[in-house]
Assembly symmetry: C2
Homo-oligomer: 600 residues x 2
């Protein structure tokens, strides 16, 4: 049986000390987020996921979801009751607009909750997680009538939602979709087609499910410029808000997957199902990206959440299991062997994990703050800066965050040795569950191209220039504390590599765009290391100041300074190798003809 205890102390450090959320109190929507309130919400959220959701994680993996003969779908034992408690406590309403029943707290709070949910039970977390994307699309693009019809129940959690994009023959290339939407005389559309890989496609958790479906209207252009977004509720909603007829959407099957078994990944069949256009015809891609960007940040958080849960269980084992002796001599001579945490290679894995996890938590929460500042910062300049930064870093949070989430959960499983491979111990579930995060909502290679091929060039490179400047300023302001100085030096080196790699793209991508494609992945990783470094430099400064101020938790802040140094000594050196890989360009990558692979 795995353990999980929400890392509330670290979350409070990020919210209160690193981000200083209270200092934004003058901005709309921030005033309510007093330190007292956020501290309470964080602790209550931690308690909720620990008591209600974590105990269901392994059950969900073992049981999976079931599609019954009548086509209905049930979730694993306990999920329905747990979801009812989730709704009752209003956990889904944290950052939602007040007008639809939300609490309108900063996204820092909803990201915190997403992380905790993912750590405790990723398969469960995906049910409300997907609904968040659907809500975001309706908030941004729905008509006032659609908003009034769907949002109150979706925000409260009484209804859940899905995102229906993928079809058997297309996922990334949405221009190829075949699902049709025929306009009807009543203003609705008849939706017909098959969607696959639909997370939370059907289940027994909520009264209704609001599907957001990409489809093509008659005569639409044959590309992503010809797709439209539709609302297709499982049960039609009557004018008085009550549930009416069952719509003609059904579950063809539930996929048998490597992991996230507690979430029903469905093949969805739409057979002239009744749907309503969201926004304008043929403008579905823009609406889809609203869902997608929210979802991508959420998936990055899954990498973080699973890594945290796996880390906690690795620590338990490393303190419990005794094998061999410390290299410096027996640590506990009265015992037959020392705890394996004495071994430097076990520590290396734990310290790598910790440095990633705490840095990533800071990055995600800082990202959440940018999401808020995009809309709420005082000046247009500040709003634009926040928007630039979070747009640039969304693919990095998704791609680097899930790559490292997978690496970290694998390392934590490794700490358990052979016992980590045994299913009952639960370490392999973390690896299997987090694996999907590198794939869905745009495979990480797609994220890399979003970063290097789209985000980099937008507005003449304004966003990445802002990132360079932010890092340079942060490095220049480093104090004389040894750990802070080291981190600033190494971060400055990493920033130089990132600038050089960016310059190389500018000079070489025009002549041959494959040079960009071949280096995009390394560029995403390099940006991830730099972003983590920026967080570690800031955390090191805060921690050095706390210690100088005579904190009564010196170990907490000393640990932060050690992790900042660990980033400097063990993460930062990779930057140069990545820059060299980028500068290698497309030559060897694209040299062989396609047949040379088939023949191998």
């Amino acid at each position: 049986m795995t353990v999980f205890k929400a890392p509330t102390r670290d979350t409070r450090f990020v919210v209160n000390e690193l981000l200083q959320l209270e200092s934004y109190g003058n901005l709309p929507g921030f005033a309510a987020a007093t330190r007292d309130l956020t501290d309470t919400v964080i602790e209550e959220a931690g308690r909720f996921v620990g008591e209600v959701l974590a105990p269901l994680n392994q059950i969900g993996d073992r049981e999976g979801c079931t599609r019954h003969a009548d086509g209905s779908v049930t979730t694993p034992t306990g999920f329905k009751e747990a979801y009812a408690k989730y709704v009752e406590s209003g956990w889904g309403t944290l950052a939602a607009p007040e007008v639809w029943g939300g609490q309108a707290l900063p996204h820092v709070m909803s990201f915190m909750m997403e992380e905790y949910l993912c750590s405790a039970n990723q398969a469960f977390a995906m049910y409300p997680g997907l609904a968040n994307g659907a809500i975001a699309a309706i908030v941004a693009k729905g008509s006032p009538e659609q908003q009034a019809t769907y949002l109150p129940n979706m925000v409260s959690g009484h209804w859940l939602g899905t995102m229906n994009l993928t079809e058997p023959h297309c996922g990334t290339d949405l221009g190829l979709i075949r699902t049709r939407a025929e306009p009807q005389s009543d203003g609705s559309y008849a939706i017909t087609g098959t969607k696959i890989f639909i997370s939370a496609g059907d289940h027994d958790l909520s009264e209704n499910i609001i599907h957001l479906v990409l489809a093509k209207t008659p005569g639409a252009p044959e590309s992503s410029k010809g797709i439209s977004l539709f609302i297709v509720p499982k049960f039609l909603v009557e004018d008085d808000g009550s549930l009416g007829l069952r719509n003609s959407v059904s579950v063809g099957s539930i996929e048998h997957k490597m992991g996230i078994n507690g979430n029903a990944t469905c093949v969805m069949n739409y057979d002239e199902a009744k749907g309503w256009l969201v926004g304008e015809e043929n403008k579905g891609l823009a609406a889809m990206f609203i869902m997608m960007n929210a979802a991508r940040l959420g998936v990055g958080i899954q990498g973080l959440g699973q890594a945290e849960a796996a880390y906690q269980n690795a620590v338990v084992y490393a303190l419990e299991r005794r094998q061999g002796r410390a290299l410096t001599g027996p640590a506990e001579p009265q015992q037959k062997a020392d705890q394996i945490i004495v071994h430097p290679d076990v520590r290396r894995m734990l310290m790598d994990a910790r440095t990633f996890i705490e840095g990533m938590r800071a990055l995600c929460m800082w990202g959440a703050l940018q999401v808020d500042l995009t809309h709420k910062a005082a000046s247009e300049e500040q709003r634009q800066e926040a928007d630039d930064l979070i747009s640039l870093l969304t693919p990095v949070i998704k791609g680097y965050g899930t790559d490292m989430g997978y690496k970290t959960t694998t390392d934590m499983q490794q700490v358990w040795g052979g016992h980590g491979y045994i299913a009952d111990n639960g370490m392999d579930q973390f690896v299997r569950d987090v694996r999907i995060a590198m794939i869905y909502e745009g495979a990480n290679g797609v994220q890399a191209m979003d970063l290097a091929g789209r985000k980099l060039a937008q507005n003449g490179g304004r966003a990445v220039q802002r990132l360079f400047k932010l890092i340079d300023e942060e490095c220049a302001e480093a104090s004389d504390h040894a750990a802070v100085r080291l981190t600033a030096e190494r971060l400055s080196e990493v920033n130089a590599e990132l600038k050089a790699a960016t310059m190389w793209f500018m000079h070489n991508a025009m002549a041959n765009p494959d040079n960009l494609g071949a280096g995009a992945y390394a560029y995403m990783t390099l940006t991830g290391i730099a972003s983590l470094g920026l967080m570690w430099l800031r955390m090191a400064k805060v921690s050095a100041a706390a210690l100088a101020g005579g904190s009564d938790e010196p170990q907490f802040y000393e640990s932060k300074l050690t992790c900042a140094k660990h980033w400097s000594l063990r993460f930062a050196p990779q930057a140069q190798a990545l820059r060299r890989e980028i500068e290698a360009g497309a030559e060897t990558v694209m040299a062989l003809p396609a047949e040379a692979f088939a023949a191998a």
Copy 2:
């Protein structure tokens, strides 16, 4: 349904052109290995695994093994029949001594077969694979009587064997074992205890199973100096060689694992089972290491084998699936989308895979040759050099080979996008199956310490000095061909980093052995990159010469030169980062007190 076709052309390249096996014809045991014979064996082996074993791989994963009410164990559908064919064709006898019914071919041939078996069906391959370790121990340490009693049937494959080391409370630290061996009046021992994680512990494939079991005799020292090795047959063998009574060894349960479901991983209960001492009392560790070293090379080959199988399936998908357009403009404008192999990031993964796989195949086969030369080379100096090199590189082949095997199978699954996460498509099985290879026969962190803590210092560092010299000489002799020159230059840089890291250990490990422990893993990776580079430089030279000689397979050799360049541009740059990580030492790794982890 996954595909697999043994890469026989590449194996023949390694055997005939790279290693030039025929040139060793003057040495004992090599004469029979003519090119005609080895080519035939390679092709037949490829045909056998492709036709008989690969089709059972997914079945084995789905069905797993079954322990019945009477304690007997059956393997998945088809395994029994396939194993009968394996025995009938004599595939297990390739490199075994002639005196016991083997063909006494060079180990290059048996390693080839191990790779093919692992690619086709890792869970199946483990049944004869574990027996190989048991055979090696009896050949090296068994009495003439034991050898005569067990080896003929084990070599033929009519009997299989196991290695019983791990107990619930100890794996790596074998000094802690509790299984007891009480001497009996007839010269046998009564073995009592519980062993766990016993691969192929019981099954229905062979008439008998010869368990090799570590246990302690009364009064034995409380450390690894007090363990002895015993032969414990499932069925006792009568004087006339027939099978007698069932021994009191039974299967407590079959573990439920992340992968390799087709192999029965058993909890074995020994209840005063009849056993016979192998070699001397309290010298079990040395005998165990004979099994272990053979097994470790075999596990490294599992990393290679799974990567090859996953690669082939990724290529199939990359040529079949169409999404998006080439960055340089539509490759097939008449189609709605291009094959995904046009995308540089898909190619990057395929080229990384290929560069690892072909380099690793060369390294494993070259390692097999060293195994033979250790015993059969003409001079003592040559025998010692071969022994030094394979001892040094065994942990590298195991550790780096399986790390990269896992990375590669994960990348190949990534090529499949969402479809790679669906169990029926089989890509996730490669990842789950290969994952164990990083753990068993000594977790990779243990391999790293075997390399940096044991092998490096033996005989005053003679082995690593030999490796440095070998690489330096190979680089110095590089021709003027551009790809060869580039590879030599980059390999020379990597060797310089490896030398610097080795020197750093020498200067810093004495003062604090944790400095060695904290850098050991990076050192193993660095040595792996250098070893792969040595192979790529040699392969590049052979290929450049073949092209200069007017080969009628120019594409094959051009591809080799491209991969050599790919190693130079994409693998070699990591060396510097690894050296910097090593030189970071133990400081941040060991800084935090153990409680600081528990509190996190």
